[in-house]
C-alpha cells in the first residue's frame, strides 16, 4: 500500500508542463473525433427562447454587441443563433456596440446570417448604429435621446435617411433588448440604465465567468433568462434547431471538464496522504 502512496506522492510533484499537455490533448482530440453527445436545455436558456418567441410580429429589437475576439468562442454562437431566431420570426434588428471590437463581431454575424442566409436589405430589415465610447454614459444617452448620440450609422449614412430608424428616438421605442456581453460595460449597465428605468424587457447572453453576477437579476425577473457560456449557446442552437459552432465545441468541453475534475480529485488524494503522513511522523 505504501508503494502506491509513494507513487501518488511523486506524481503530485510532476512538472506542470505535463498537465498542460494532458489538458491540451483533452481539448484537441474531441475536435477531430466528435462524440455527438445529446444537449439538454436548462431553465435559464428556455426563458430566453420563450421571451423571444413571445414577441409579436415585426417588433423592434435592440441587439447590443459587447464582446471581442478573446470571448468570441462563447458568445458569437449566441449572436448568430439569436439573429436566426429573430429574422425567422420576422423582427427588425437594430445593432449597437459598447465595445469597439463589438462592431467587427456584429459585421461578421450579420454578413453570415442577414446577408448570406436570409438575404435581407440593410436599412429596411436591420441597421448597424455601431460603437460609441463612454460605457454606461452611452446607455444613459440612448435612453434619453438616441439621435443626439447616433447622428450617423456605422456606414456613415445620416440616421434621418434610414427608413428603419423612423419613429426611433429613444430606448423606450424598442420592444426588446438583448445584450451579448463579455464584461464591463455589458448586461449590468443595460439593466441599470435602460431596462429597469424604462421597463423594456431584456434578455442576455454572457461569458461563463459573468453569469453568476447576473443570476440574481434573472431570479428577480429583471432579466428574462440568460444564455450561460458555450453550453448556453449550444442549448439555444438546439432549441432553434440549427446546431452551429456552439454545439461542435461541446464534446471537447465535456472531456476537458472530466479531466479537470479528475485532476482535482487526484490532487486531493495526494493532499490526504500528505496530511495522514505528517500526522504519523
Amino acid at each position: 500500500m505504501d508503494k502506491i502512496f509513494d507513487f501518488i506522492l511523486r506524481a503530485g510533484k510532476v512538472d506542470r508542463r505535463w498537465i498542460f499537455l494532458i489538458i491540451g490533448l483533452a481539448v484537441l482530440l474531441p475536435l477531430f473525433f466528435p462524440l455527438g453527445l445529446p444537449i439538454r436545455a436548462t431553465i435559464a436558456t428556455q426563458k430566453v427562447y420563450d421571451a423571444v418567441e413571445a414577441l409579436e410580429e415585426n417588433s423592434k429589437v435592440l441587439l447590443s454587441f459587447e464582446y471581442g475576439p478573446s470571448t468570441k468562442p462563447e458568445i458569437h454562437p449566441m449572436a448568430i443563433g439569436l439573429l436566426k431566431h429573430l429574422f425567422t420570426n420576422g423582427h427588425k434588428v437594430y445593432v449597437t456596440c459598447l465595445w469597439p471590437d463589438g462592431q467587427f463581431m456584429a459585421d461578421e454575424a450579420l454578413t453570415e446570417v442577414a446577408e448570406e442566409e436570409f438575404n435581407l436589405t440593410y436599412g429596411e430589415d436591420y441597421v448597424v448604429l455601431g460603437f460609441r465610447p463612454g460605457n454606461e454614459a452611452v446607455v444613459k444617452g440612448m435612453v434619453s435621446n438616441i439621435r443626439k448620440l447616433y447622428t450617423t450609422d456605422a456606414r456613415g449614412t445620416l440616421v434621418d435617411e434610414i427608413p428603419l430608424m423612423k419613429g426611433i428616438n429613444k430606448v423606450a421605442d424598442f420592444d426588446f433588448i438583448f445584450s451579448a456581453s463579455a464584461g464591463y460595460p455589458g448586461t449590468l449597465e443595460w439593466v441599470q440604465y435602460a431596462s429597469d428605468p424604462t421597463g423594456v424587457p431584456l434578455s442576455t447572453g454572457t461569458t461563463s465567468i459573468m453569469v453568476n453576477d447576473i443570476m440574481p437579476m434573472v431570479n428577480s425577473g429583471q432579466v428574462q433568462g440568460i444564455l450561460a457560456g458555450m453550453p448556453g449557446a449550444a442549448e439555444y442552437e438546439a432549441l432553434i434547431g440549427s446546431p452551429g459552432i456552439g454545439t461542435s465545441g461541446m464534446d471537447a468541453q465535456s472531456i476537458a471538464h472530466l479531466v479537470i475534475v479528475l485532476f482535482i480529485v487526484f490532487g486531493n488524494i495526494t493532499y490526504f496522504i500528505e496530511v495522514q503522513r505528517s500526522k504519523k511522523y
Binding site: I39, P69, S70, G134, N212, N219, I264
Partner: protein, 272 residues
C-alpha cells in the same frame, strides 16, 4: 493649491450632484443637458483618457529604449506595433472606396486586416492561456483544506459536470453507488474498524440496489441524484441566494463610495 485640489474636488461634486439630481428633474431643457450633452462630454473625456494612456505608454517604452534598460529590444516591438496601428488608423486606408472614419469598421481596409490577423490572435490566445493555468492549479493547488473549501469544490464539480452533455449520460444510480463508497470511506476513517466499514458498505449497496430495481433503473430518476437536475437546483437556488447577498453588499458599497466622491470625502482620484 486652488488649481490642483479645490477646483477638481468642486468639479466632481458639481457634476456628481447634477447627474444624481438629473434622475429626478422633470424639465426637458435641464434633462436634455444632463442626459445628452453631459454624457457626450463624458464620452469625449473617456476618449482623451485613452489618448493619454497611449502617450504614457509611448513615454514609458521610449524611455526604456533610450536608456537601454533591460529588455529594451522588446520595447521596440511595442512602439512598432503602436505606430503600425496608428498608420492603419490615420494614414493608409488600404481601400479607397471607403470614407475616412468609416474605414475603421468596413471591409477590405488595412485596419480590419490588422484587427483580424494581429489583434484577434494576440488577445484571444492570451485568454486561452488561462485554460492551462486552471488545469495545473486544479491539480496542484485546489485542496479541501476546510469545510468552506469542500463546499466550494463539491458544488463546483457538480455544476461543471452537470452542465455539459457528458453529465446527462451519467445515471443517478452511478452517483448513488459513488456516495455509498465515499460514505463508507468516511466511516472507515472515523471508526477505523474493518467490520463496521464493510457492514456499512454492504447495507448501502443493498438499499440502493433494492430501490433501483423497484423503480426500474431509469437513467434520470430519482432526480436529486441525476447530475443535470441537481446542478440546475443548486444553480438556481442556493447559488442565487449567495450571489444576491454579494450583489446587495457590493451595491451598497458602490453607492457609499459614489456618495463619498460626490460629498468630496473620497479624494483618491487626485492621489490623496
Amino acid at each position: 493649491m486652488l488649481w490642483k485640489r479645490q477646483i477638481p474636488i468642486l468639479l466632481a461634486t458639481i457634476v456628481g450632484l447634477s447627474t444624481l439630481f438629473g434622475w429626478f428633474i422633470d424639465h426637458p431643457g435641464i434633462e436634455s443637458f444632463v442626459n445628452d450633452d453631459a454624457t457626450q462630454w463624458y464620452d469625449i473625456l473617456a476618449s482623451f483618457a485613452i489618448f493619454l494612456g497611449a502617450l504614457n505608454l509611448m513615454k514609458l517604452q521610449g524611455k526604456k529604449v533610450l536608456k537601454q534598460q533591460s529588455g529594451w529590444q522588446y520595447s521596440l516591438f511595442a512602439i512598432g506595433g503602436f505606430l503600425f496601428a496608428i498608420v492603419a488608423g490615420f494614414v493608409y486606408k488600404g481601400n479607397d472606396a471607403v470614407e475616412w472614419g468609416i474605414h475603421v469598421t468596413s471591409k477590405g481596409t488595412l485596419f480590419k486586416w490588422m484587427f483580424e490577423y494581429m489583434f484577434t490572435p494576440l488577445s484571444a490566445t492570451m485568454f486561452a492561456l488561462l485554460a492551462f493555468f486552471v488545469a495545473s492549479a486544479s491539480y496542484r493547488a485546489f485542496r479541501v483544506r476546510n469545510l468552506e473549501a469542500t463546499l466550494l469544490l463539491v458544488s463546483g464539480i457538480i455544476i461543471m459536470v452537470g452542465r455539459v452533455p457528458l453529465g446527462s449520460s451519467i445515471s443517478s444510480w452511478f452517483i448513488m453507488y459513488l456516495l455509498v463508497l465515499i460514505s463508507s470511506i468516511a466511516v472507515n476513517i472515523k471508526f477505523k474498524d474493518k467490520k463496521i466499514t464493510f457492514g456499512a458498505l454492504f447495507v448501502g449497496v443493498l438499499i440502493v440496489t433494492v430501490w433501483g430495481s423497484a423503480l426500474g433503473w431509469p437513467l434520470d430518476q430519482p432526480g436529486i441524484f441525476y447530475l443535470p437536475v441537481l446542478q440546475d437546483w443548486i444553480y438556481n437556488n442556493p447559488n442565487v441566494a449567495g450571489a444576491r447577498a454579494i450583489m446587495i453588499g457590493i451595491g451598497l458599497g458602490i453607492f457609499a463610495t459614489s456618495i463619498r466622491y460626490i460629498i468630496g470625502v473620497e479624494k483618491s482620484y487626485i492621489g490623496e
